[in-house]
Symmetry: D2
Subunit: 428 residues, 4 copies
């Protein structure tokens, strides 16, 4: 196995120009039904409701992560770094390609509700009864497990882990460039080729040589900007909230044996918490979108209204909740209820604890492997120790911008025209 | 009505940087459920199976056509061309925005089978019982009809028609740039700003002043390249063929009262030829994709196999049919049938008469208003009369490249390994 | 005067796509000999020795500043901001176009030595006996003085001044984009169209509305990156130092009545400090480069050697001087002298006080008008008060990175091979 | 020799992102005074007078040609093409880097007058008493001659020649992309990476595999567009004509022992036809520009006027000469002479025989090695035999667009206002 293709295959890609496939194994993985399913999962969930260009899929991005990993390895091999073991090449390429395999439809809205943690499911699909596993197992019986362990971050060689999941990994390098390209914003455009040239393997880490620090600062600034301007955009958040409330309501109705006009088996399993690998592969965004379309006519008023909202993009409005304490919030909820607008589904303050994007945060340590700078004396320093700008970017993310989401149209129908004033307590 | 927005709204757009909305009417049209439906129709049908970047929607493109029309009008008004009537502004903007409203899911595969001609349906949605019609009617009772007549090309003022549908219209100018951007190819990148500067209204046409002829040549070369390299790509064609055969088979089964595992009402109406406006609005690509996913397990072997192929991108292979006459083709069909591979669904020669992309052709006259060059003496000439390169590009499109599509895997299972040789008559 | 051109003139420009000239006055100014001279002054001085792409001229940039000013005004007029007076349009356009008219050849190397402050000379050329003045005076007799006062920042209407010279002006907006384009770096690419949309005239300032703060942060980060990665690049600095030492030496020799093999009158006037407007117009970079080429064979060993270095890009090497105190620096100078390498011309520590680029610094107050954010309550705040990232960027610039420049080759010829070690005191 | 650098050097380049130098030899060649001189020769001669962005140098382009050659070789080596001999790598890289070494200042205006054929001089500099020769000779004593023979196209291995000088060579591939980038036009943007993938060495040629034909068509269309829209732009031609007439006049005056106010030795040698290698290296554009500036005040009215024109960009106007036969042209010349405007210097019809850009022509055979398409049966066909579009592009270039250049201002001073009408014989 690990056969080289007689002729390199290429995919035309707007971000990397071309994606080069040189190995039979990679080619076969791309052609599995599990990997093809990623064409039906959007890369940025509900962001397309804010940025109409953001319609690209996880398939699109996953090929890109593979390509960045291929470029990193190719740079390591051309530079003949001693700490890079050429035998790890295929393992890293597979982990890069497959790391998002387990994403659920609109995962930011559903992961918490239904325990569809995408990393866990990526591993499950890689090691379960799937085409992907069968292909990986051709390399060696434990190769699927090895690939999964790199993705799960518990592979003994943390260098491999950090190439796929760290503060400066193939995943982030691709998604910043790609999401910037498809949304059309300017922010994500750091110099990938230069980053590739200044990183190197060092004692189980990817480190950055000191003279490349400015290039990494630029990359981190890109991340900061993408985070605030794209990933956390209030309209995108509004879409996520509507969607989450749909699924929460559906889950409750399911427990009450509600007669859904349409409920395909994989979705039922999701609501019931009985998803298995086969059902998971069948879960995709067209299935969810079709279900929501058909639920518009169901007998539950809350569910049908929320589905109509998502389907036709009549989202919740959002205002700053900076001056809103929990007392006032409770009052508001009671007012909503008393107006016949159930606050449980129609009034949502954005709890930063709900923040699904912690991983985009500046240079925070902890769950993601940090970025190290390697100086001429071969000593390592965590980047925020040596870069004032990175320190500042990390601090920045602590800032809270609490928001309140609600359906302005329903309030208006009830005569509350100046909603913002009414919300802040001054009547409407 | 026709109120100006107090503050210009903008959409971030990767192709035009920003799309500017200055009118309340346009803003409301964008927010209708009929227009939002275009988010669920891909701009390039099955092209995403070839170019993974081509996942953008008709919504995306329709905003772009609107923006190009806005720019054309803005240039006309800044230049104070006498032949431009400022009162036609809103009519052209609406026609530009809405011209694709009636696209069916994967329209290139379904239009012929089910009479879902998108132009006709655009007009039906604009003048039928829709949110769009209600909003347009605020301008004047006959405004919806006027917008429809511009799209249907029978508006008395052919200048307005040619701004939206001609060889050099807002539609083409947007889609060449946009499709090139999302697929990542280099071809579609003509100089839009220069084109805008050299066109002007003249006796009911959009014409090009003589000194701008090279700019138009460049645009037409872009079109030629996009046509051959993107729109007619064999893999995209293969996807269309599989999809068309799915619907053809489903139509036949429907007539035999086949028990489909899932058949939502709008799709049933499509198969039955009883589509109305309401069902049409419900028809979208997630619905088709979900249906195909669920049909994978149906009792008809042909239908389930074809659905599996489309869903997992196991398409037909394609080879040149240049040396294949109808006698050999019949022989091939009999061989397929005798192998238990029904040729009616599994063997398809690409009849150029089936060509759904005639509109992309170079400078052909006829169904699309041609491009005129205006010289210093104010005389008009059709561009192919004065440009040798355009003449050459037009001729080019007569070239036939007949192809043959078939499932190589099924033949291989039956021991026919060297399919191409076998097809060309030499055994396998 | 102020006649509108019958047909808009356009310049093809890589940064703004096109530069639009709509006024006869602007067209005539561009065609003066003083403005055409800017084709012979590089925009980035010695940067082309570091970034080979940076060969663009002040002419190139000046058209760009004009175009950004035109876009700002056009946005102001479209938005009908009350605080913008349409009668100031031509004044701002002229000041934008002409603000760099007085740049000397390689100005960063010569301004301090020969009092060729470019702003002062821009005003001198605008109000002196020049084609530019004659054309401006057609508007009104005091119009040249008005244009000069905007450039000199003492015009009573500080709004006009801040459009041309402030922390967020047409000048910076063009040069960041332009210098990034020509050098090929990624850093300078902020979103100009968005900046244009969020700025507005307010009580004599250009201010930024609060919702646009992130866009301005992005612009300031671009500036920070361009500053460190391009404008202050050590190789560029090395070129400047060699050039300055050439002129310093030439000035001294001139006082000693040295027989230069070639000394054109304008250059003699510069060395003598007797420049007038006519000589100034004759001073350009080809003249300096030719002079340096011819001085390579002069009788003064220092001058000929330095000229050879600049002409053939055999610059000084540069090392960090972080650990170098003034005592050690004196020792080094003596060692240089004793080796027959006059330290006065061959050993240069980079005194930050010499820093010619203070204007590129983050958000510093003082000499340049600061950036104000305008919140919903119409109160102004200096941006570093409300943006942590800007505060951080401003602080950053206090950082010192002292460098030492010297001719490594001359030391090597004298057997000092390990120069860096030798410099830091450890012998070589 | 041929030592690999311990650390790859990179140049930031806007066109190829980075230029990678891996060999000590290449690094040393770049640092020679002969190669550094190319910084003082513009890539596009007088084009900067038309496109202000076109200020880039031959140095800039030469690095690019080297980089494209490096990429071609790298692709050949990765693909393990048998017909590529790895030992030829350094020879091709050196020829690519140095092929333009012998360009004279504004070569299109001076080559014919002073026999400064740049290819011949490139070879002379490579094999003469130069730093370049000394460095090349380290490889082997005959290596300079070998490099020269590749450039002179008489090396026995025509494959190497065709990599540097053919219809599809590293030179063209770089300059189309580069000139498009700096001028800012859209035309030159073909897909370099795809071209690299479809070319291969075959029997002493670079050939294109059949499936890559459309990519080459695209490249040739780019060339066609650049040719007509940029390289042959009338304003650029006007600049060349003024410059050529300056040198022609200066040559005549020199023969009459005219007392030039300034005449540096290399320029005197050029006028006298006695240029040698040392003088050639001293000839650069600043020297020419300075000379022209100083000649503005010389005693010859024609020379001083023409120099003033070039220096301040007061060029000749240009009109179509389509309807102008030689009789009328003679009449015009006499009228010019009688008005005191010597026709020999002030009236120039653009004789296509003078056309310096023949090499840009479509697919012409002959002096440049043609492009071959290699089909599946390994037979070669010249591209215009198989591509209708290429045939058409080649034909196109036969078209003549004769122009007439003259100083409109001088005629106007003499009361001839409507010059175009006067020229075409109708009085003014």
């Amino acid at each position: 196995m690990k056969t080289t293709l007689t002729e390199e295959k290429v995919f035309k890609d707007p971000v990397h120009k071309y994606i080069y496939v040189q190995d039979q194994l990679i080619w076969e993985l791309i052609n599995t039904r599990e990997f093809q399913r990623l064409r039906r999962i959007r890369q940025l969930g509900t962001s397309f409701l804010t940025f109409h260009g953001a319609e690209h899929s996880r398939f699109n991005h996953s090929l890109g992560v593979y390509e960045v990993a291929r470029k990193i390895i190719s740079q390591f091999e051309r530079s003949r770094y001693e700490q890079w073991n050429r035998e790890d090449r295929m393992l890293v390429l597979c982990a890069a390609l497959l790391h998002d395999l387990g994403h659920a439809p609109f995962s930011h809205s559903t992961e918490r509700l239904f325990a569809t943690d995408h990393e866990k499911w990526s591993c499950a699909l890689i090691t379960g009864e799937t085409e992907v596993r069968r292909i990986l197992a051709q390399v060696s019986p434990d190769f699927p497990e090895q690939v999964a362990s790199v993705i799960a971050k518990n592979h003994p060689n943390q260098l491999l882990v950090s190439m796929v999941s760290s503060q400066l990994d193939a995943d982030r390098m691709d998604y910043l460039l790609r999401d910037a390209y498809y949304t059309g914003v300017n922010y994500g455009t750091f110099d990938l080729e230069r980053i590739l040239r200044v990183i190197r393997p060092h004692e189980g880490h990817i480190v950055v040589k000191a003279s490349g620090m400015h290039a990494v600062e630029d990359y981190l600034m890109s991340r900061y900007q993408m985070y605030w301007q794209v990933y956390l955009h209030p309209v995108t958040r509004s879409g996520e909230i509507v969607l989450r409330n749909i699924f929460r309501r559906a889950g409750e109705l399911r427990q009450q044996s509600f007669a859904f006009p349409f409920l395909p088996a994989p979705l039922a399993a999701m609501l019931d918490g009985t998803l298995d690998v086969e059902y998971y592969v069948q879960l995709d965004e067209p299935l969810v979108q079709t279900t929501l379309q058909l639920w518009q006519t169901c007998d539950d008023k809350v569910l049908s209204d929320l589905c109509r909202r998502f389907h036709n993009r009549k989202l919740f409005k959002c205002v700053s909740a900076r001056n809103l304490n929990s007392v006032r919030l409770n009052e508001l909820a009671q007012m909503f209820d008393s107006l016949g607008i159930p606050a449980a589904y129609y009034l949502q303050s954005d709890d930063p604890g709900d923040q699904p994007y912690h991983e985009y945060r500046g240079g925070e340590a902890g769950q993601k492997l940090p970025i190290y700078i390697l100086d001429e004396n071969q000593t390592l320093a965590e980047i925020s120790k040596v870069s004032e700008i990175v320190r500042s970017l990390s601090g920045m993310n602590q800032e809270k911008q609490p928001l309140l989401f609600y359906p302005a149209d329903l309030l208006e129908e009830r005569g509350i025209v100046n909603v913002e004033q009414w919300i802040s307590g001054g009547g409407g």
